[in-house]
Structure formats: C-alpha cells, structure tokens
Amino acid sequence: MKTRLFKYILVITALGLFINPNCFAQKSVLKNYRVRFGLSTTKQADNSRLLEVSFIAANKKDRKDRVPVYDADINFYNVTIEEDFLLGTAKTDKDGTAKLTVPADYKYVTDDEGYINLKAEFEGSKDLKSNDDQIAIKDIFLELNLEEVDSVKTVILNAYSLDSLQTKVPIDETEIIFSVRGMISNMPIKQDYMSDGTFEFEFPENISGDINGNVDVFASILDNDEYGNVIQKKNVNWGVNKTIIKETNQLWSDVAPIWMYVVLSILLIGVWANYGYTIKNLFSIKKEGKELETKQED
C-alpha cells in the first residue's frame, strides 16, 4: 500500500516536472528510486535503424515497482571525436520509451575501428538529473534468400560487414535465430551459429501460413555486443494452409449429430407411446364403467 502510494506520488511528480516546470518535486520520494536509462539499437529489415531509449525509475527496495518517466525529451547523437551529430529528438511515451528511426541512407560517422558510436541523452530538469547512455556497434548486413534448391525449400543467409574500402567481410561465430511470424509473437524455427558469413537450412514443411499460404521468415541477431539487434525479413509462399475440419459435435454447430436425433427420438417415442397407451386404457376403463352404469340403470 505504501509502495503504491509512493508510485502514484512519483508519477504525479514526474508528470508535473515536464508539464509544469514550476511544480515542486518531492525529493524525499525520489530518493527511494534509481533511474535507469538505457539505449539499444535495432537494424531493421529495410536497413533503417531504430534507436530506443528506456527511461524508468525503479524502486530500490521493490524490484517490481517500476515507474516510467513520461514525456521526457531524449536527444540521439552519432558521436565522433570531434563532434556529436544530432540524429533527432523523441519524447518518452507512457511506457517510458523514446524511439527514433534513422533512415537507411543515413551516413554514420564511424571511429577508426569501424564502430558507430551512438548516444542518447536526457538534459535533465529542475528535479530530475540529466542522464545519458552510449553504445558502439558495427554496421552489418544480412541477406536473406529463400530458394528452392533441388525442390527443397532452403533458407540461405549471408551476413557481412563492409570495411573502409567497401569490401564485404563475412561475419563469423555469431548466433542467429530464424523465426516465422505468429499471431502473438514470432515462432523460432532454427537457432544456430554462423560460420564464414553464411548459414543455410531446410525450411520445415509444416509451418502454417496465412489464408494464401504466405509466411514471413525472419533472421535475427539479438542482443549482440558487437552488432546490437539486426533483423532481416522476407515473405514467401511456403506456408501450409491448415484445413479447418468442421466438427459436428459442438454447441454452436448448425445441426446436432444424427445419433443425437435418433437417441432422442427413440426415447421420446418410447415414453410418449406409453403415455398414449395408458390414456387409451383409461378411456377403455371409462367406457366399461359407463356401460356398467347404463346396465344398472336399465
């Protein structure tokens, strides 16, 4: 209860900080929280790069108590020795996440070892300290080919980086995950290490596609220290159309199974025939009684 109260106070304070700079923050409450500011990057299928900042205040005592910092201005930079190039600015959303997509054709400045240095920065407000985070990643390229080799559906992935002379350098010993798009999340179909910049495997036969049998295949490198997240995607008509078997014994089916009609009919006919027989006998008793009465009257 106490923790929840603190949470509400912090949210109101954080909101107040950004909406109205004249508000007073409750420093005593903020003291219980540690601000986490993290930058990550994902190279997307169209070669654009997504920069993402997670800005969250976590309770020092209660790990489950995490309060997102909302509406904070985050600046993203391409850092070089001489100068920091501003890539753009984004505000954190209600989950405390700020996202910026850098177009595929943007020319990053790299350091001597070929790393792109990226930085995200929060300049701070009256009561919330400034924060920043920096990462260095190498730009790599994934080429995903989905081909039928000797009538075998084959997934082929080539991964490389470009050196200063724009020569392809194959990627080695890097974990790669292949998955297909699912309704809720992607379903992994293969997970292995690449050697010599290439990897291939046979596409499974029993993967369900959409109504036309199309399926999205993903090749991903995730949380890699050197490359960050890299995702490549292709659509192919290799999915299997699942035949929906129309089940008959369902409450919502149009008609009941035939056996049900038969059993019910037999039962009802049996019972009601007996009722009919009983009533017929009652009439016969009545008739006999009537005749007897008439005889006695005569």
Binding site: L264, T278, I279, N281, S284, K286, E288, L292
Partner: protein, 442 residues
C-alpha cells in the same frame, strides 16, 4: 370380505382428514398464503427492475434460484424413483408412504421449474427456447426431460388416485355438491370390476417402470447441465450418478419429515408406524454412505489432480466457505450416518432429526457446487467491482425461495383435503391379497 362395507368404513375413518378445518390449520394456511404474497411482491419488483435486485451479477450468474431448482427437481425425480420402486416391486409397506411420495413428486416438479424461470433475465424471450431449440444443448434436453417427466408424473399420480376417487364418489353422501361432482369426474366411471382393476393395475405397473427409467434419465440430464461445461468443480464424469444419489438422499429425507408431520398432526399413528420410520431410516443410512462416498471421490480427485483451477476452487471452499463446507460435507453426512447406524438411536424423533440435518446439509452442498465455482472461473477476473465477483442472496431471492417452499406445503395440504393421504384402495387391495393367501379349510 364385504368390500363395499369396508370401503364405507375407510371413508368414515378418513373423512375427518378431508373435512376437518381447525383454527390452527386455518392460521397455518393463512401464514403460508402470506409468505406466498410476499414472494409475489418480490417477483413483481424483480420483473419490473430486472436482476439488479438480486445478488446475481456478471460473474456469479446463478444463485439460490438455481439451487432451489436443482433441489426441488431432484426431490421430484427421487420421489418418482421411490414411488416407482414401491409400486413395481409391490413393497409391503407401500400403502403408508406411497401417496406422500407421489404428492411430493408432482408438487416439487411444479414448484422447481418456476425457479429456473426466475433465473432468466429476459423472460419475455422464453418462447425462443421452443421456437429455436438446439438439440445439442443440455438446456434443451432438460426442458424436454422436465416436461415429459411432469406429464408422466401427473398421469402416474392420477392412476394411483382413481380407485380412491371412485370410493369417495360412492360414499360421498352428505358431501358438498361440488365435491361430489369433482369425485365423479375424476373417478372416470371406475367401479372396481375385475377387468377394470386388472387394466388399471397393468398400466400403473407399466407407468411405474417408465417413471423409474425417466427419473434416471432426467436426473442425468440435470447433472449434465453442469458437468458438460468445463467449469472447475462441475466438469466431472461422476456428476450424473452423484446427482442421482444426492437426489435420493434429499427425497428420502423429505419423505421422513413429511411422514413425521402427517403422523403427528393427523394422528395417523396406526398407519404410519415406527417400523416405517426404521425402514426409511435404514434406506437413508445406505444412501448417506453412498452419498458420502461420492462426495469424497469428487473432492479427492480434484485435490489430487492439482490442476490450477481446481486448486483455486478448493482454496475458496476451504477458506471463504470453510464452515459451510464443514456443515455440508461433514455434519450433513456424518451426523445422519451416526444416528442411523446404531439401533438404539433409531427412534422416530432421531430419524426425523437425521433427515432434517441431511436436507440442510444437502442444500448447502448444492450451494457450494454452484456459487464458489462461479466465483473462481478459469479466466482471471480483473478490474471489476467486488459485488460482481462475490454472491450474496438478496431479500427478493429469499422471499421467492420461501414462497416456493410455502406453495409446496400449501398445495400438499390442499391435496390432502381432496383425497386421503393413506390410499384406501391400497388398504383394500392389501386385505384382499392377505385373504387370498390364507389356507382354506376343506
């Protein structure tokens, strides 16, 4: 044996039951009518304002109405079952209890379904059930079963009444005209001739067999309304036989209570004797052992399976409903067993007390089958008001429940004013049989 003379004697013996109207009985009838009137007021309020006046909400959609429905319908099926057994196997002491059982059967089958109507939110759409029936729905099966059973029970009850109507018609001198006309009309010219008697016995016997089968089917259908769903606590393969045993448990208990009250207030000690109570008590003992066994199996398998939903239900039963659970499944079963097991405890009063405990325990058991299950559904309930999760019956529901019980008792009293509660024809038949058995001295 002079049958005509004997009939006259019996009518003379039982006529005070039909005519007597003491001050106490008038007050009692007035009290019952008052309860029914309160129930009618409650019904009007519910009809005008809807189910908001009850404790039923989005999650707990069934309350004491459905419990009353199950209770009364089970009572009826068990009555039909017991009555069928008494007639079919020509049980020696059937004369003392058969009419009580038959009246209980028909009345509970009239009162019970009224409660299901009270459960329906849109009564104005009731006819949809008949216009668009779905044969694959257990609700449709239940409607068919109840209607078929109701008609069957009426016919059966009527068959057992015919000889008595004929006796009353032939000996109704000095009775009001309307009563004479009613007896004449209902007796359908029955004169107890050899062929008439044979025919009537034959169809009564066939109907009694039919009623036994029908009761088992209807019982099972009622249980399937619950067990064919996947709700925790309901989805059970033994629910149908469990309901049959539970129904018999309640049926025999109500018969014992009715026997006690009729014996006490109508001074029928000569016909309803201690031996009948002991017989009924021993049957109740056997049924209570079976009922206890089924109850244990039901909860034990749920506990042992450790399925999340079942564990949540058991957790609710052993915490929120702890005392109710103890009363329903320990006191309600063990107390009757202890009383009925030891010979020295088998007195009329203690057997009746055991029956009362059994009835109350069984009613509570029904409550625990319906309400806690609906309070702990498969999908977690989030962001809703507490009253939508927890059920408490309102005064409207209690008023209508008590009105149902009052109507049941009132109709019982009215039927007893029309025909004797001990079948006169049964006594004559029994004496006739006894005479046949006596060896002739040549």
């Amino acid at each position: 044996m002079d049958v005509v003379k004997r009939k006259k004697e019996l009518v003379k013996e039982f006529s005070p039951l039909l005519e007597k109207s003491t001050k106490t009985s008038k007050i009692w009838v007035g009290f019952l009518i008052a309860i029914i009137l309160v129930g009618l007021v409650a019904f009007v309020i519910q009809f005008r304002k809807g189910h908001i006046v009850t404790g039923m909400r989005d999650n707990v959609v069934w309350g004491i109405y459905i419990i009353n429905f199950i209770f009364f319908v089970c009572l009826s099926y068990s009555g039909a079952f017991i009555s069928g057994i008494l007639h079919f196997f020509k049980t020696p002491w059937k004369n003392s209890v058969s009419r009580i059982v038959e009246v209980i059967t028909v009345l509970s089958l009239i009162v019970g379904p009224i409660f299901i109507l009270l459960c329906i939110g849109r009564l104005d759409r009731l006819y949809f059930l008949f216009l668009y029936p779905r044969i694959q729905s257990p609700i449709t099966w239940d409607i068919i079963a109840i209607m078929t059973d109701l008609i069957g029970c009426f016919i059966y009850l009527y068959l057992t009444f015919i000889p008595d109507f004929a006796i009353l018609r032939d000996n109704s001198e000095g009775q009001p005209k309307w009563r004479q006309k009613v007896y004449k009309w209902l007796a359908i010219n029955y004169h107890d001739t050899e062929t008439q008697r044979e025919k009537l016995h034959k169809i009564t016997r066939t109907m009694s067999a039919m009623i036994i089968a029908l009761a088992i089917i209807a019982y099972s259908v009622l249980a399937w309304i619950f067990s064919l769903t996947v709700q925790p606590g309901w989805n059970s393969s033994i629910f149908a036989p469990y309901f049959i045993i539970a129904g018999l448990y309640s049926g025999i208990s109500v018969i014992i209570i009715a026997m006690y009250l009729i014996r006490k207030f109508y001074h029928l000690d000569h016909y309803i004797r201690k031996v009948h109570f002991i017989g009924a008590g021993v049957i109740l003992l056997v049924i209570s052992l079976l009922y206890g066994y089924f109850t244990f199996s039901e909860y034990f398998s749920r506990w042992f399976s450790h399925k999340d939903a079942d564990m949540k239900l058991l957790d609710t039963l052993f915490n929120k409903y702890f005392w109710e659970f103890i009363f329903a499944n320990y006191i309600g079963i063990l107390v009757p067993i202890v009383i009925l097991f030891f010979k020295k405890f088998r007195t009329i009063k203690s057997i009746t007390f055991a029956a009362v405990v059994a009835i109350l325990g069984l009613y509570m058991n029904r409550y625990l089958i319906v309400v806690p299950t609906l309070e702990t559904p498969y999908l977690p309930i989030q962001d809703t008001r507490p009253e939508y999760i927890h059920y408490t019956a309102t005064w409207i529901e209690w008023s209508l429940s008590f009105a149902g019980i009052a109507a049941f008792i009132l109709f019982f009293i009215l039927i007893m004013r029309l025909v004797p509660i001990i079948p006169m024809s049964g006594i004559i038949d029994h004496e006739r049989e006894e005479k046949k058995k006596k060896p002739r001295i040549i």
